[in-house]
């Protein structure tokens, strides 16, 4: 990559980038401020819960088992893995896929200057991610081990130092990932199938590993900190190069086994690794970046040819097909919706199997119907929440929905049918898979035909209700924030709202079914719920889901014309 290099240009580009991301105008409306405060509060609340969790885990590991170095090694592996994944995604999005590349190339700046300014942003982003995930653990570690004040400065330094490795690896990985992505452009079905397989595989590997660990602990009457498990942690930590060196540096002379010279050598080794990887990353990126963005600009309009017959179809079919194709032909949308819907039965099955293994030991098989119900609703919520962008996704083409001679209720009915049908099929498959396995001997007969039938009925009702609620959210406040290729820039607040509603419903329904399958409920001396007899429980849940259904359907269709007409692109 040739061209002049000026730090002044880099600074200007970096400032421009920051301004385009965060804006310069401060809105002063009270509603806006309240919104900001609420967002910040919600974020801090979630983060506080996470930090608290990290603190307790640190305390358990360090105080109870004395596995200080081993714990820090595991933490280093986990946090760096997360940072690498996040950083790779950031690098790909900002360096290679960002739509501003074409615009920036028109300015009198070199490719090298663009690369450096964007890399600064990526590095700072990576640093922030590392700070969020590493600092609370290191600080917790310091508190638990009673570290002196100077150690906290070391933790801060180590956090910064630890953030370099994931960033270098991310830059190296991003290049082949982008090359693969460029190769599979427009091969939608292949990508979809591949995504589903990968999604299922990752999930299965994760759950099987977790299940194996839990089984091992159960079978050998072990717990997390038995002598045998501690040996395993030690073995892992001693072989986890170079992460154990990071752990040794964090431990320092106070807690570790190394003297000053040893620590210095560890630091030199890690520095050498980081410098080596940094050089490789710099060479790979600078060699490929300019070529890659030019290729991206040249092929951003790469498309496929498809000859169809000029044949008349019904309006319903036309709208349905268009909606389906727009989802199928987008990587983001097909992953969010179709891949999740297809993978849901596999995920539900393995989740149930793991939960059944664990649950049976503690509270018995009685929790299985409730658990199945909860898991299915959670996974279906993820799929159905896609409906909460059904209008926003129209983007710049929203005007089209207003000018076509098809009523708004009809247009939304088609969308509703697509989402509800796919989710219903997914629910059907989830119930079929769970039903076939858990009603059999192999599955321990923890479910009956009544359970499966009732779960299916309740879940289908919830699917329709949630779909309606999601569409209502988007009708009320769509956000047409689309990128250059017409796709939504990010999930909007409606998705979050839909997810919250779905998860709340899943927890309430699941816990209700789990609870009253082994706990009797008497009202005025009359036994309402008998343990082991789920008929009344299902009846109650069916009534509640029926009310939800009526409410959501009415909420969507009543005054729909008026509400839709009010939407202005």
């Amino acid at each position: 990559m040739k061209g002049e290099f000026s730090l002044r240009s880099v600074r200007t580009l970096f400032n421009l980038d920051l301004r385009s991301r965060f804006g310069t105008v401060r809105k002063r409306g009270i509603k806006y401020r309240l919104h900001q405060v609420a967002n910040a509060f919600f974020f801090l609340l979630v983060y506080a819960v996470l930090v608290l969790g990290m603190y307790y885990i640190t305390r358990i590991f360090v105080s109870r088992s004395g596995l200080k170095l081993e714990y820090l090694t595991i933490v280093a592996v986990a946090t760096m893995a997360i940072a690498t994944i996040v950083s790779t995604s950031t690098v790909i999005k900002n360096l290679y896929q960002n739509g501003d590349n074409e615009m920036l190339l028109r300015f009198p700046v070199s490719g090298k200057e663009i690369l450096v300014s964007k890399s600064i942003y990526c590095f700072l982003h990576n640093l922030l991610v590392c700070a969020f995930i590493m600092l609370p653990i290191y600080i917790s570690f310091g508190i638990v081990t009673g570290a002196p004040a100077v150690d906290y400065a070391t933790y801060l330094g180590m956090m910064v130092f630890s953030s370099i490795l994931p960033y270098c690896i991310a830059n190296i990985i991003a290049v082949p990932v982008m090359k693969v992505m460029n190769r599979v452009k427009n091969k939608f079905i292949i990508v979809l199938i591949f995504t589903i397989i990968v999604l299922c595989a990752v999930f299965i590997v994760y759950l099987v590993s977790l299940s194996n660990v839990l089984s091992y602990m159960r079978d050998s009457q072990q717990n997390f900190f038995s002598a045998s498990m501690i040996d395993r942690y030690r073995a892992f930590a001693s072989n986890a190069y170079p992460f154990n060196w990071y752990a040794e540096l964090i431990s320092g002379r106070r807690l570790g086994n190394l003297d000053g010279h040893g620590l210095l050598m560890r630091f030199v080794y890690l520095l050498a690794i980081n410098v080596g990887l940094g050089i490789i990353a710099a060479i790979v990126t600078s060699r490929e970046y300019y070529k890659m963005i030019l290729y991206g600009i040249e092929t951003q309009k790469a498309s496929f040819r498809r000859k169809i017959r000029d044949k008349k179809h019904s309006r319903f079919y036309a709208l349905f097909r268009r909606e389906f194709f727009l989802i199928l032909r987008s990587f983001n949308y097909s992953f969010q919706y179709l891949a999740m819907a297809c993978a849901a039965p596999v995920m539900v099955f393995f989740c149930n199997r793991l939960a059944a293994t664990m649950g049976k030991n503690s509270v018995g098989g009685a929790i299985m119907p409730g658990l199945t119900l909860m898991v299915i609703i959670i996974f279906i919520t993820i799929t159905v929440s896609f409906a909460s962008t059904c209008i926003s996704r129209e983007g710049n083409c929203f005007y089209h929905t207003k000018v076509i001679p098809v009523s708004y209720p009809m247009q939304l009915f088609v969308k509703f049918c697509l989402y509800a049908v796919v989710a219903s099929v997914s629910v059907g498959l989830c119930c079929l898979v769970s039903g076939l396995y858990y009603t059999s001997e192999a599955g321990g007969k923890v479910l009956t035909a009544l359970d499966v039938g009732a779960i299916f009925g309740i879940c289908e009702t919830i699917v329709i209700s949630l779909t309606c609620l999601c569409i209502i959210c988007d009708v009320n406040s769509p956000t047409f924030n689309v990128s250059g290729d017409g796709e939504l820039v990010a999930a909007n607040k409606n998705v979050t709202l839909a997810m919250i509603i779905g998860i709340v419903v899943a927890i309430v329904f699941g816990v209700f079914a789990m609870l009253f399958n082994f706990m009797p409920l008497t009202l005025n001396g009359k036994l309402i719920y008998t343990p082991g007899d789920m008929k009344n429980v299902y009846l109650t849940l069916a009534v509640v889901s029926g009310v939800l259904l009526i409410g959501s359907v009415a909420g969507l269709w009543i005054n729909l014309n008026k509400k839709y007409q009010r939407i202005v692109p």
Partner: protein, 368 residues
């Protein structure tokens, strides 16, 4: 005595030019006279009920004498204006008013006009004058605050589906579903307008050939250029052969050949008794193509006049536009007219002379 036709009942009434408000003797509908200096040019602005305009000082404002003389002699007579709003019109807009939410500004203020079958109607105005907002209201994209819009006799609010069935719309931003191929998109639109298979095939083949899109029609729209997207929008808007074809700045970004094809097709479309309504900034094109033209400024319809067969109106279109939009400045206007006719290329000889002059200077710098 001059007469006017009531748009409500169709009764022909005498126009008392001395009155500010005239009333239909049959149904009692009231209309406001539009006054200009010089009593003989007193006209009825048909279709504007008195109640809506009574407080509007701008419409009562008397223009400068010199401007009035220029403008009024080309205006419609009272009964011509009223007659233009008859029920068999392709499009009737009555007292259309639109205010955007969270905005004090009236984007479209009491606009009324109608389109006849077979005419090409130009809609002019500066940027932000309210052209696109009016078009978005006509097509049902935007809700409006008051007034009515009737397409081929169907009210866009009460009977939107039938009204939209008679309309084809080409937006100014050429937004289409880019993940579909051109043929998929046109077929999708044809399905929505219930166009039979053989008819759509014939039309699609014809338009693809006409607009030179045959090579790209089976490709994804995202690979199309700006002009190609505009063309596919036009094909989709015409696939059901609409009676009313609405285009928002249609020639923007099109190559000269495509512009010529669209103009030719506009004429062909109108020759079949259909109507074309389009907004544009190209006064020259409007002058050559349109039967009638309306000029809007700050949301108000200021002028509406014939161009077909009226050479004087054609000749005065630019000046009228500049005056109405408040951008008239004698010197600038003269420059504009001069630009239209004169050779605007910079004098190459002068430039060469400059270059030659600068060379010794550069050499001198090099030597230093």
């Amino acid at each position: 005595m001059k007469k006017f036709k009531c748009i409500m009942c169709g009764a022909i009434n005498d126009l008392d030019e001395s009155k500010q408000v005239v009333e239909c003797t049959k149904c009692g509908e009231k209309y406001k006279n539009r006054f200009y200096v010089g009593s003989e040019t007193t006209l009825v602005k048909a279709g504007i009920p008195v109640e809506n305009k009574a407080e509007d000082p701008k419409t009562l404002q008397e223009p400068e004498a010199s401007e009035t003389e220029e403008v009024n002699e080309h205006l419609y007579s009272a009964d011509e204006m009223a007659a233009s709003l008859r029920q068999d019109s392709m499009l009737v807009v009555k007292s259309l008013k639109k205010i955007y939410p969270k905005s004090d500004r009236v984007a479209v203020d009491n606009i009324s006009f109608s389109l006849r079958p077979g005419e090409i109607f130009g809609f002019l105005g500066q940027n932000g004058a309210g052209k696109s907002t009016t078009i978005k209201c006509l097509t049902g994209i935007l809700p409006f605050d008051s007034g009515s819009i009737t397409v081929c006799g169907y009210d866009i609010v009460k009977d939107p589906i039938k009204a939209k069935m008679n309309m084809g719309y080409v937006p100014d931003n050429h937004s289409v579903y880019e993940k579909l191929t051109g043929r998929e998109y046109v077929n999708y639109v044809a399905d929505l307008y219930k166009v039979p298979s053989d008819v759509r095939h014939e039309r699609l083949t014809k338009f693809a050939k006409l607009f030179k899109l045959e090579f790209a029609i089976d490709r994804q729209i995202k690979s199309y250029s700006h002009g190609m997207k505009q063309k596919i929008c036009i094909i989709a808007a015409l696939i059901h052969d609409p009676k009313l074809w609405i285009l928002d700045e249609p020639m923007m970004g099109l190559d000269p050949q495509s512009t010529a094809e669209i103009i030719a097709y506009m004429r062909e479309h109108c020759a079949k008794g259909n109507t074309v309504f389009f907004s544009s900034h190209n006064l020259d094109l409007v002058k050559k193509l349109c039967h009638r033209v309306a000029i809007v400024n700050e949301g108000r319809l200021i002028d509406l006049f014939d161009l077909a067969g009226n050479e004087e109106n054609k000749a005065n279109l630019e000046e009228r536009f500049f005056r109405i939009t408040g951008t008239y400045d004698e010197r600038l206007f003269e420059d504009y007219v001069a630009q239209e006719s004169a050779d605007m290329r910079p004098d190459l000889q002068k430039s060469d002379a400059l270059n030659i002059q600068s060379e010794p200077a550069q050499e001198q710098l090099g030597n230093e």
